[in-house]
């Protein structure tokens, strides 16, 4: 009896997840001369863990490389433009703040706005911090326009994310990848043969095998190719993902809400045709249910998506990290991926940095919550501890390489969570408080007036889809 010939390709993507098909599509676009194949994994958990993924501005570059457009995401993937997140309950029932992209206020005399905001607060003349953010004001009013190109226009002072139905995006990526020549194996990956730090071949269903140059492990938390070795659990995030719910209804498309209570938190946001709720409940079993791989690129295999890093959905890390991972892979893509030691080292360094940033962005909320409840603070990384220390001391925000959250988001979260600077910039202190209040309250009024003139997002999207239909419909030239 002879063994069947191994299936061959240049790159094999294991899994049926969003990461798998995004990865396959990416490689088919980057390296059209290579044979890319996708094979399902026998033990893969639900390929779509998060029903909604959120694309940050960083995704635009990759989106262009993949041949996708915003209109594709809105039309085909139920997408909406997300301008702000309303956080409630992290530090007490009444504690509410908004996290948004773009500027809050404006710097003056070399000092950032949040220094002046502290002065306004001390003088009892400060409305909510979000009042000074165009994106937040637009979100609360359910409005949307794209940012103005003119950097001097007030309407240029914000940015946005796109909320996308994850299953639909997976299907779209799959459709595009197959159209670009990616092969889909019907046989499942059953096991992996490693030797000398490299995958020699994959064992497939039906006594088949696959032997390729480079492997992508996109099998989610099963980590079917990379295995559990090197998995680092995060004790600071003691949560478990619960099943989400999907409801019909439109509501405010521009605003997401995250509501926390002592034992859980819930995120709710709107896609174009429905609202989606996800809940993460707090566990006190001492186990780390979330974590990341310490070496995501090992030998000739890279773990992508949840196989590399799995975190709760606060700040929507899954798609941000996948975007970062694919961007890195694209930037570091070697002629021969299997022998790229320098590239692998750099990839791992930067991927771990990104994982750490996302972990820290979530741990900040845990630290604030613990502080309010009188619980001991979770273990914080040196980076996060320094960020909190510097901010609470002088209002100085430490930003590290390859941060995912923007500086304005960090400041909004730090202030919103009660990390108030003990003292502000001496440059801001030199200004008269009356003048500060007067200037910034006028600024807030300009924001309100600008928002009043904008269309609501439903109307904006309807118009956008009508244009899209003209471009892609049967009569399109």
């Amino acid at each position: 009896m002879s063994m069947p010939e191994p299936l061959r390709a240049n790159i094999l993507v294991a899994g049926d997840s969003l990461a798998a098909w995004m990865g396959a599509l990416a490689f088919s676009r980057w390296r059209p001369e290579l044979a890319v194949a996708v094979a399902p994994y026998h033990g893969e958990d639900s390929p779509i863990a998060d029903p909604v993924v959120i694309a940050r501005p960083e995704f635009r570059k990759l989106m262009a490389q993949l041949g996708l457009t915003e209109a594709d995401l809105v039309s085909e993937c139920d997408g909406t433009f997300l301008l702000a997140t309303r956080h409630a309950g992290w530090t007490g029932e009444a504690a509410v703040f908004h996290q948004a992209l773009g500027t809050f206020g404006a710097p003056a005399n070399g000092a950032a706005f949040h220094h002046y905001y502290q002065q306004m607060r001390a003088a009892g003349q400060a409305p909510s911090y979000g009042t000074f953010s165009l994106a937040t004001s637009m979100a609360l009013a359910g409005k949307f326009i794209h940012p103005a190109a003119n950097p001097r226009a007030l309407e240029s002072a914000f940015d946005y994310r796109i909320a996308i139905d994850a299953a639909k995006l997976r299907d779209l990526a799959k459709h595009r990848a197959l159209a670009a020549g990616v092969t889909q194996f019907s046989t499942k990956v059953m096991g992996t043969a490693w030797s000398d730090g490299r995958i020699r071949h994959l064992l497939l269903d039906g006594e088949q095998s696959a032997e390729v140059d480079f492997y992508l492990d996109c099998t989610g938390t099963a980590r079917g190719l990379t295995g559990a070795a090197g998995w680092t659990g995060i004790q600071a995030l003691p949560y478990r993902r619960e099943t989400g719910s999907v409801e019909t209804g439109d509501g405010n498309l521009s605003l997401a809400t995250v509501t926390a209570s002592p034992d859980r938190w819930t995120r709710e946001l709107a896609l174009r045709t429905r609202r989606v709720t996800e809940t993460f409940s707090c566990l006190e079993d001492g186990l780390a249910h979330f974590g990341y791989l310490a070496v995501p690129w090992r030998g000739n295999c890279v773990a992508l998506g949840r196989a590399a890093c799995d975190l709760p959905a606060l700040h929507a890390p899954a798609f941000s990290l996948l975007t970062r991972e694919l961007g890195l892979l694209g930037a570091l893509l070697p002629a021969d991926p299997a022998t790229a030691r320098v590239e692998a080292r750099e990839y791992n360094r930067r991927a771990l940095t990104a994982f750490g940033h996302m972990r820290d962005a979530q741990a900040l909320f845990e630290a604030a919550s613990a502080r309010t409840q009188g619980k001991p603070s979770p273990d914080l990384s040196d980076n996060l501890a320094r960020k909190i220390e510097q901010f609470t001391s002088r209002g100085r925000l430490v930003m590290y390489d390859d941060e995912i959250l923007s500086d304005s988001e960090w400041i909004a979260c730090l202030l919103g969570l009660g990390f108030t600077p003990e003292c502000v910039s001496p440059l801001a202190m030199a200004a008269s408080v009356d003048a500060v209040c007067d200037n910034y309250l006028r600024f807030a009024k300009r924001i309100r007036q600008a928002v009043e003139r904008m269309p609501d997002q439903q109307t904006y999207i309807q118009h956008m889809l009508a244009e899209y239909a003209k471009e892609t419909g049967p009569d399109a030239v």
């Binding site: 930037a331 893509l333 510097q390 001391s393 390489d401 001496p426 440059l427 202190m429 030199a430």
Partner: protein, 503 residues
Amino acid sequence: MLSDQTLGTILIVGGGTAGWMTAAALSRLAQNGHTKIRLVESDAIATVGIGEATIPPIVGFNQILGIEENDFLAKTQATIKLGIVFDGWLQPGEAYIHPFGEYGLDINAVKFYQFWLKYRESQKLPYIDQFCLPAVAAWSNKFLKPGNDPRSVLSTLSYAYHFDATLYAAYLRRLAEARGVVRSEGKVVDVALRSEDGFIESVRLESGEVIEADLFVDCTGFRGLLIEGALKTGFEDWSHWLPSNSAVVAPSERVAALPPYTRATARDAGWQWRIPLQHRTSHGHVYCNSFVDDQTAQDTLMAGLDASATDEPRYLRFTTGRRKKFWNRNCVAIGLSGGFMEPLESTSIHLIQAGISKLIALMPDMSFNPTERDEYNRLTGIQFEQIRDFLILHYTANQREGAFWDYVRNMGLPASLEEKIALFRSKGRIFRFQDELFGEANWLSVLLGQGIIPRTWDPLVDTMDLAAVLGDMRQIYQAIQKTAEGMPSHQDYITRYCPAPPV
């Protein structure tokens, strides 16, 4: 709104460029009506005066101080700087420019230089500097201020200044004194420390006057009178990586057509700068005296002047490296007192500026929380190391002959630089770390200029249509060449907007 912990007095010890830049910047703090800024200096102590060439962040520094550019250019005998020409660094007879601006435009989110790497030979493309407006303008002695319209090619140009450092210090002194900074004439002869915590309590002048302060800024140059003399902070020596330890400097008459760039010419045991000013040209020869004696170094300098010398040469000795702490107790070292790196990339004044910015951002109060001090030291240390790596790059990839060049070619490198070079060699990738001063275009210019050519390029380049890419590259090239052609000469710009009074 002041806290009762706000500093009462900040004393800057030492004038010169570092002292007066610090005083001018900190004068904004005096607007709170509580903090007093004092500066003590002695006319009897000469300033070093190295650092007449700058890099683009100086433009923003002056703007924050409210300085009117043309007035400043005229009063400091300044000229414009679009980059640095490195002559003979790879090998004698070859030159390249490190310009202040980007190369080309990204095409489909892929860096322009990646296309250049692929097609430079097969399509006989011009050298990459011809796709960079400040480089093209510099080579043809042109200048025009960048426009605000981000769609215009002119907006891709950045610039800095060459100026007379002594006149700049004087200019800032007038500004600072007008804003309330109090200057005291006198030589510091003693520094008193508090017995309980070793903080500096006061300095005593030759006249006997004792000046107390809450925070001391050491701008005393190489001596580090406070940071080292009083506080014994320690010094980290980097001369194994940057072995030059001497300079001989001399001014010459100005050249007729002012070039808008600094020139750094490699010599047998170091290199020689030429900085064009309106009233004179500044020259200096930086060398390692283990490889060449002082007289030969001086002869080399004088033979390389492009006009008659106007003063006697003078010598400087230095050790490359950094203070182990830039901020120790209640003393912050700014300028040469904090560390020294040869002015190959004109970073001396930038390091002053960066130190001031960080000090303002981390300004302590009377409690002197170590949080601010530690962060200042961390950030400044990173910046020194990043600049050090960038300077070493100029030396390590040389193809010159001679003992000095053999040494710097074969010496071990910091791991951070080795990794950066390896990534570039592999596929032309450059990543910026920790808010690095020198970005992708800066590294690219020197990496390519020093002959480090990547083995291959970004594979995404291979996926794009050759005709379309070449069409885009042609358009970019033409737009840059045409824009440069339409610019006035550097000399005409100076004559029209900022002529200095005759000396």
